[in-house]
Structures are given as C-alpha cells and as structure tokens.
Amino acid sequence: MSDDELKQVANEIRKGVVTATHAAKSGHPGGSLSATDILTYLYFEEMNVDPADPRKADRDRFVLSKGHAAPGLYSTLAERGYFPKSDLETLRHIGSHLQGHPNMNDTPGVDMSTGSLGQGVSAAVGMALAAKHWGNDYRVFCMLGDGEIEEGQVWEAAMFAGNHALDNLVLIVDHNGLQIDGTIEEVNSAMPIADKFRAFKFHVIELADGNDMAQIRSAFEEARGVKGQPTCIVAETVKGKGVSFMENQVGWHGKAPNDEQYEQAMAELSKEA
C-alpha cells in the first residue's frame, strides 16, 4: 500500500477506537490513537500475517505490551479482517471477545495476553528466543509505552534480548510523553530512552514522527536489515493523535468520549478521510 492509502486505513482505525471506547463508556483512547499509525503499518505492510488463519505457525507476532491500548489493536485487527468491525461496539461488554485488555484466547489475532505493564515484552522476547531455538524465521514486534518502561521487568527483558542478540525482535516505544499521573518527566521518566536501549545492546532507531507514515516506513525498513542485535524504535508520537481535543491531554488517557465528544471526534476524522 502507498503511504496515502495507509493513512486512509489509519483514519478508519481511529474511527474504530473512538467508536469502541464510546460504546464501552470506558477504555483508553489516548494511547490507542498515538499508536494507530504504527499499528496500521505493522498489520497492513510489515508483518506476515493472515486474518483467515490467525494462528498460522510461521506468522510474525505482535505483542501489545501496553495492553491498555487494546482499542487500537482491536480496531486494527477488525480493519484487517480478523473479525467484523461491528464487534468493536461490544468492547468491554459482558460476553464480548473484546476484553478490556487483550486476551490471546478470546480474540483472533491477539498473540499474547497483556495489560499488566512490563510483562508483554518478556513474552515477546520468549517468542523471539523460541523462533531462534527451533529455527523458525518469523519476527516478533512488541509495543511498549514510555511510562511502561519505568517497570523493571522491561529492562530485565531488554537485557536478555540484547545478550542473546535476538535480531528477530523489534521493540517500539510509543514515546507520547504522557502517562497517567502526568508527563513522564513529572512522574519518573526513563529518559534518555534511546541511550538506555543502546546500553542494553539494541540497535536504536529514533523515529522523529511516529505518526508520519513515510517516516514509519523508513524506520521499519531500517529495522529489517539489522543483524546480530535486537532493534528498538523510539517513536515520538502525539497522545490522542487525530482528535483535536484529545491531543496531548493527559486526561484522555483512560476516559471515553461522551455522545457529544463522540460526534465531534467522528466529524473531525471524517473530514480527514
């Protein structure tokens, strides 16, 4: 797909995020929207996956370590054809396969259950290790939040991945600058992020605009060529990207749009299309 086509897809996925969280009356739009462009690129361009066969053995894997961005992942999977887009309106409802945080045994296309921050990345490293050990050539992608990387387990996982030279692993830090209690600087930031991952033996790609499709493309193209060490893409993003009143607002981390806000958000996103 061209960058323009991917942008259109991302816009549809954003609508799904707004629709799902509005229907759920809860959930996490901010971190879903900052990650949308990268999720789009991964599922529509980068990863070897088949929505008709979500568990095919040689597929590339994706672990959403920042599991609260489930609406972003679900909307991406729906757009990609893993399940009907109408399912998004069941998010967080009793009986829905779309749990508040991703569960691999509920939702087609979800490769690991996540939600407790810091844990998904370990599983991603385990997947990459398994691929190396059993001689499979699939790749593993894992997205972390910039608040999430305050968790010690992230660095335990990074240490292991670096020491084992897992070059089939690509971590993406969604560096939107915000967590729950404030900016990452106000709370307890892990800055400088790129230097830390370099120190943990990663090849680091600093993606200046993680909401720009052309830049995302070149980052993942570079990652493809990296051998002998894992890659970490540190992506500068805007939390709430695409919905004016949510952008860069810490308050939109875990809050659903009301009816009025829903209308406004959908109108803005429809103008984009």
Binding site: A57, M112, S122, A123, L129
Partner: protein, 314 residues
C-alpha cells in the same frame, strides 16, 4: 527409616528433565542463576543448547517461558519457591495462568527444610498463592519416584503446572517398579480406621512413620498422599473421612491457604468432619539444620504422632 535411600526431590527434578529431554525436543528449560541448587544443572550439562539462564530476573523468566509456550512449545521455569511463587506471582498469574500456557514451574527449596538460609528463603506460602490461580495445577511430590513421575505428568498435561520440590534429601518410599502417578488422584499409602492423615511432600514420610508409632498405641491411621494439591482428590478424601470421622492434614507450609485449607474446603462442603491442621502455624521460619527445624516445628514423625494422638483421644 535410616537404612532407606534418601534423595532430594530437587535432584529428581533435574534428572527427570534430562530423561524427558532425550524423548522430546519440544521443550526448553529456564533457570534464574540457581541451576546448581535447583538441579537444572543436570539438564544443562546434558542439553546445554536447550538451557537458558534468565539471570536474577524471575519475573522476566516467567514471561520468557510464557512467550516460548505461545509458539506451541513447552517451557520449564525453575528457581526457588520463594521467587517463583512469591517474587513472580503476578507474572505467573497474568502471563502464564490467564492465557493458560504450557509453562511448567519447577520450584525448589520450598518450606522450612531449606534450613540455614532462614526465613527469607523458606517459602511457606507458595501452595496458597499458586492454588488461587484458575487452571493452575499444583503438585507437591513426596519422594524421588513421585517427583520424577510428576515432572513427566506435568510435561504431558496441557496447561500450567506448579511443582514444589525440596532441598532436603528424603526417604524414597515408593517403588519405581509398581508406582502409578495420576494428576489429581491421591494415593492411599496405608489403610486405617480411626483417623485419616492427608499429607503432601516430605510430610508423607513423616505421616507414615507416625502411623507406625500410632499403631503401637492402638490407633489405626489411614495415610493419604495428596501429591496433587490442585485439583485435589476430593472423592478420596471424603470417602476416607466418612470411614474414620477425623482428618489430620500435614504439610511443610503455612496452615493458611495450603493443603489443610484445601482439604477443609472439600470437607466443609461435602462431609463436615473435625480437622487438625499440622503445618507452619502462621509464623516465619528461622535458620538451623533442616532436620532440627522440622523437629522444632513439629513437622516430623514424632510431632505428627503427638498431634494425632492428642486429636484422637480428645
């Protein structure tokens, strides 16, 4: 039992892993810088390329094992019970239990028989913790024969398993020629009519020896080995309780939340029966030689016999 062969179940774990590896190449083993102590070193020596050291990072180790398991393979993850069930509880709960992955946790150095290392390393809470995780199978083997069978059964079973092994060498009471192991099925080690002793781990040996001493005093004790604490063999426990009318539970673990609680859960609902719980009585352990500690905590044959006699005569 002085002339009986003694083996620590952690050693059985290491040997069983190596034996299993010869037959199956679909699993790997993780440890967290304790390979000599947990005896995964036995496996590592035989299959170095299938052994991965996570270093001193138990939470990550559980996640690595979970990740491996998502790919359709299996993983054993090993460290001391304190760090497997304690430090990494939430990783086990959320990354292994919730997705119901094929991770087999080999937790060694459980209970006060850790000995000299003292309270920080004597985990008396792991059965309670692991038992609360939906879908988790919890196995506490008593001897070498049972421990090896448990490792094999854990490998075969679909889903997460927590295996609890000890540091102390304990008498081998099962005959490898005739021994049959089935997950979730207790074993009547000795029949009796006055009281039922339900035990797991090294307390099975203590209970058997106690039953011997009690017989001399005219008390007929039935001894049941509940190697699987979850799912517990409720039918067997109820049947025996109906026969004897009194139940004593024996575990090298806190009396809160462990085997004793599991047995009480069953009996309270299906066959209310007076119960005496032998175990660590809501207290921390301390340093000392393992055998002396077990004696001080009343977790040897003498202590069990004393409690049972008092309970039966009361």
């Amino acid at each position: 039992m002085a002339d009986v062969k003694k083996v620590a179940t952690r050693a059985s774990y290491g040997e069983a892993l190596a034996e299993l590896a010869a037959e199956h190449d679909d699993f790997v083993v993780f440890d967290a810088d304790l390979a000599e102590a947990t005896h995964t070193a036995t496996f590592k020596k035989a299959y170095p390329e299938r052994f991965f050291d996570a270093g001193i990072a138990e939470g990550n180790m559980m996640g690595l094992a979970a990740g491996v398991a998502t790919t359709g393979h299996k993983a054993f993850a090993s460290t001391f019970a304190m760090f497997a069930a304690g430090r990494a509880f939430e990783q086990v709960r959320n990354s292994i239990g919730y997705p119901h992955l094929n991770v087999k946790i080999g937790a060694t150095h459980a209970g006060i028989s850790v000995g000299e290392d003292g309270a920080t390393h004597q985990c008396n809470e792991d059965i309670a913790l692991m038992r609360t995780i939906p879908g988790m199978t919890v196995i506490v083997p008593c001897d070498d024969v049972e421990a090896k069978a448990a490792v094999r059964a854990a490998y075969e079973l679909d889903g997460p398993v927590y295996m609890r092994f000890g540091r102390l060498a304990v008498p081998v009471v099962n005959d490898p020629e005739t021994f049959k192991f089935e997950v979730g099925k207790g074993i009547v080690m000795r029949e009796g009519t006055d009281v039922t002793i339900v035990a797991c781990g090294l307390m099975v040996q203590a209970a058997l020896e106690a039953a011997e001493a009690l017989a001399e005093k005219g008390i007929s004790a039935e001894v049941i080995d509940t190697h699987t604490v979850k799912p517990i063999d409720a039918d067997l426990i109820v049947k025996s309780a109906q026969k004897t009318g009194r139940v004593v539970t024996c575990e090298e673990h806190s009396v809160i939340g462990g085997l004793g609680s599991a047995v009480c859960d069953v009996l309270a609902e299906r066959c209310p029966t007076p119960v005496r719980k032998i175990g660590v009585q809501d207290t921390f352990g301390y340093s000392g030689p393992a055998v002396d500690l077990l004696h001080e905590f009343g977790l040897d044959a003498e202590g069990v016999a004393r409690e049972v006699e008092e309970f039966v005569r009361a």
